[in-house]
Symmetry: C2
Subunit: 116 residues, 2 copies
């Protein structure tokens, strides 16, 4: 039983778009991720998608308009809504997803999320 | 569809131990709360209890030992585990709870959570 320090967890890896599991909440994974550049357009048919920016800035592109996020700002993409996260410079995020959610919305292209 | 700025939401109220709903994720409320002093010992039989410190420091007392949290640190109290959050100085937190969870573990003593 100890605190999970998000900066410390983020210092353990450098890959972009490769979320690491740092904890669990009611069957959801709590993840940290480093992002830079443009991800893929995707949606999650079964779950909302939670983003909290810890460092840097991201844009979540959606068909009906973009949302810009800086440190201390969060946004939840409603389930089924197509989106494409983009970061001009490296940004660090906290994500929450039901365990097993494919990061690309498609198990065939999704990364495997390691616990750290 | 816009970013939720946690500092901005926290600037809208001053009461301690009175969480405000700022968003939703898969049937969970996303809440910000200002805390100071000692809360009550309680547990949630049906849910884990998510705490992320945004500002200040808190101690989560538990029967089997305390967890100390500073900014950027999170802890999930497992469901059913008795705990008592304490903050010597005012601290600001992000909480995640299934909608309708009583903050004291008991609907008779729980505060009503307003959406802001």
């Amino acid at each position: 039983m100890k605190a999970i320090n998000l900066s410390e967890k983020l210092s353990l890896f450098s890959e972009h778009w490769s979320p690491r599991i740092v904890g669990s909440y009611n069957g959801n994974d709590l993840l940290v991720v480093k992002v830079k550049g443009e991800f893929v357009w995707h949606s999650h048919e079964e779950t909302d998608d939670f983003f909290l920016v810890l460092k840097g800035r991201i844009t979540i592109r959606m068909r009906e308009g973009d949302v810009e996020l800086g440190p201390g700002e969060l946004f939840v993409v409603p389930k089924g809504v197509e989106h494409c996260p983009v970061a001009e410079e490296e940004a660090h995020l906290l994500l929450i997803e039901p365990a097993g959610t494919p990061n690309t919305g498609d198990p065939r292209t999704a990364v495997t999320k390691k616990r750290i």
